[in-house]
């Protein structure tokens, strides 16, 4: 068997991504192109992603992004073996642009289509950098849209959600706290930068859902965001200066502490020795730093893909598609539906 080229299309939120992965006969994967067009700046003044603005941007960006990816990979579209596309979860109107385009490419090229799960794609992204995953591993997905703990027993076979946020996603908490501190959107990078000059132990912000009777693997960030707001307001009312760097560092410490503590506990409870952290918040320096410390202590292997692979992109979808092709999965039908609330257990929609 020769090399197969897998095309991945992503449009579930505010990034239009097209990735191309070369799948070798032995299952090895090589990333040939990873082009992304982002509408993040158009959402900045609204303080969050506006679905209709994102959908409009996807329509404009789809063909140019595809053109750039094909050029970057140095291939012709007709050489593609199969096409994978995010079918969910995500914003309904945004998903529909990518899936409609993917169907048209599949029809025009006469190639099989795979409608796949965005969350599984985030985990698959790591295999582009660090190679195949062990038989069982735990994945912590953290971004503006998701905060989940997943037990991964084969990317093409079985993924189980063992915990998730009961309210805000971790990245959402960053955005909200950033607004509170008059920092720009998205909030992750500016808070991370500011936190480096502050003391993470300065203010004892609460750790959500860590009581003895709380759900072991679920997260809650809404209370944390509220207590940051209360603390800031109390200082203001008292006419005190707000130590912005300490607030940022203490907030960030609370997020990283809860995320890593729960992930490591889950690894121990489930008897897995590898933790993968992916999603936009994985690029956060305190989260990856604390995870590295605690994984080393616990004797766990930590895998964090480079930031470019952590955020939403087409490469992760191409990687997941390559896993499905390698596992001889059946292609999806061309009347495939998008599913905004797709559970992670459904790796592919037929």
């Amino acid at each position: 068997m020769t090399d197969r080229l897998i095309l991945g299309i992503e449009s579930s939120c505010d990034e239009t991504g097209v990735g191309i992965v070369r799948l070798g006969p032995d299952g090895a994967m090589e990333l040939l192109a990873d082009e992304v067009a982002s509408s993040v700046e158009e959402h900045a003044r609204f303080g969050g992603v506006v679905p209709e603005v994102a959908s409009r941007a996807h329509l404009e960006a789809m063909v140019p992004t595809m053109r750039r990816a094909v050029e970057k990979a140095g291939i012709e579209l007709r050489d593609v073996h199969s096409i994978a596309v995010t079918a969910g979860p995500g914003l309904a109107g945004a998903l529909l642009v990518g899936v409609s385009a993917a169907k048209a490419y599949a029809a025009a090229l006469g190639k099989p289509l795979y409608g796949v799960n965005h969350l599984a794609g985030h985990v698959a992204a790591d295999t582009l950098q660090h190679g195949p995953l062990p038989k069982r591993c735990l994945a912590l997905l953290v971004s503006g849209g998701h905060s989940q703990l997943l037990l991964v027993e084969g990317l093409a076979e079985k993924i189980t959600e063992i915990g998730s946020t009961v309210d805000d996603a971790a990245g959402e908490a960053y955005d909200k706290v950033a607004r509170l501190l008059d920092l720009p959107y998205p909030g992750g990078p500016p808070i991370d930068k500011l936190a480096k000059q502050g003391n993470g132990c300065a203010i004892a912000f609460p750790r959500g859902l860590t009581g003895p009777r709380d759900s072991k693997y679920d997260f809650s960030f809404s209370g944390l965001k509220t207590s940051v707001a209360r603390w800031v307001e109390k200082q203001e009312r008292a006419g005190e200066e707000i130590p912005l760097a300490d607030v940022a560092a203490s907030f960030q410490e609370a997020v990283a502490d809860v995320l890593t503590a729960k992930a490591i506990r889950a690894c121990k409870d489930l008897g897995v020795d590898t933790l993968v952290i992916s999603g936009g918040v994985a690029a956060n320096s305190r989260l990856s730093g604390l995870a590295a410390e605690r994984c080393a202590e616990a004797g766990l292997e930590l895998r964090v893909p480079r930031p470019r692979l952590c955020t939403d992109n087409g490469a992760m979808i191409a990687a997941l598609g390559a896993h499905l092709v390698a596992a001889d999965a059946k292609p999806s039908s061309l009347d495939l539906s998008t599913t905004p609330g797709l559970p992670v257990t459904t790796i592919q929609i037929l």
Partner: protein, 224 residues
């Protein structure tokens, strides 16, 4: 020449294969249309493949693609445009956008001045006006039916689903042409198609801004 016509600006998911020659009006070889405002994404590609198969052709036989550019409800409208754009890129064929009401006006063709109105939801219609020769003289715009009556140039008839829904407000005789047909979509672009003209940008006619509100000042997360 062989032309694929697509439109998703109305509840009708429309795909048709049309033959176009310089000497005769466009001729429908096969078409698939389903009226379902929630299934554009599911049905459009299967529909166009079925139409091609019934016409005895494959995608590679196409010379060009024509796609309705709206106005229409955004989510559905984008399905047609992104499908047409991706097909055009993958097949290396030109894609011509045509305003959807222009195609409906051709279908209605009463020989008298005409209003075309389609359903814009939220109790509004997308509308355009045409003279007796079928040339667009106004629009497309989006308005409440009662408001459009005041803005409307003198017309004798009305067509389109919006004209049917709000017939009692608009008060014009309704001609049966609810959705754009594949033949009319091609007819609107016939001159450009036959001349091999460079297509216009494939830009949707949204007519409305996205619903989004800029937050005012710092957001209080507590009720202080």
């Amino acid at each position: 020449m062989l032309v694929l016509a697509l439109d998703t600006a109305t509840p009708a998911v429309t795909a048709g294969v049309v033959e176009l020659t310089p000497d005769s009006p466009p001729r429908l070889l096969a078409g698939r249309v389903t009226v379902n405002s929630k299934a554009h994404g599911e049905l459009l590609t299967p529909h166009l493949l079925e139409a091609l198969e019934q016409a005895g052709h494959v995608l590679a036989d196409l010379d060009a693609i024509v796609c309705g550019s709206g106005p229409g409800p955004f989510t559905g409208l984008r399905v047609g445009l992104v499908t047409a754009a991706a097909l055009g890129q993958a097949l290396n064929r030109p894609v011509y956008p045509v305003p959807t009401p222009d195609a409906i006006a051709l279908d209605a063709a009463t020989g008298r001045p005409l209003l075309v109105a389609t359903d814009a939801r939220r109790k509004e219609v997308y509308w355009a006006a045409y003279d007796a020769a079928g040339r667009r003289t106004d629009g497309p715009h989006v308005d409440r039916p009662a408001d459009l009556v005041g803005k409307l140039p003198a017309v004798s008839d009305a067509a389109g689903e919006g004209a049917e829904i709000y017939a009692d407000v608009i008060g014009l005789p309704v001609v049966e042409a609810r959705y754009p047909s594949p033949v009319s979509l091609v007819a609107v672009a016939a001159e450009e198609l036959l001349a091999g003209a460079r297509p216009a940008a494939l830009t949707p006619l949204y007519l409305r801004r996205p619903d989004a509100v800029e937050p005012a000042g710092r957001k209080r997360v507590t009720k202080a």
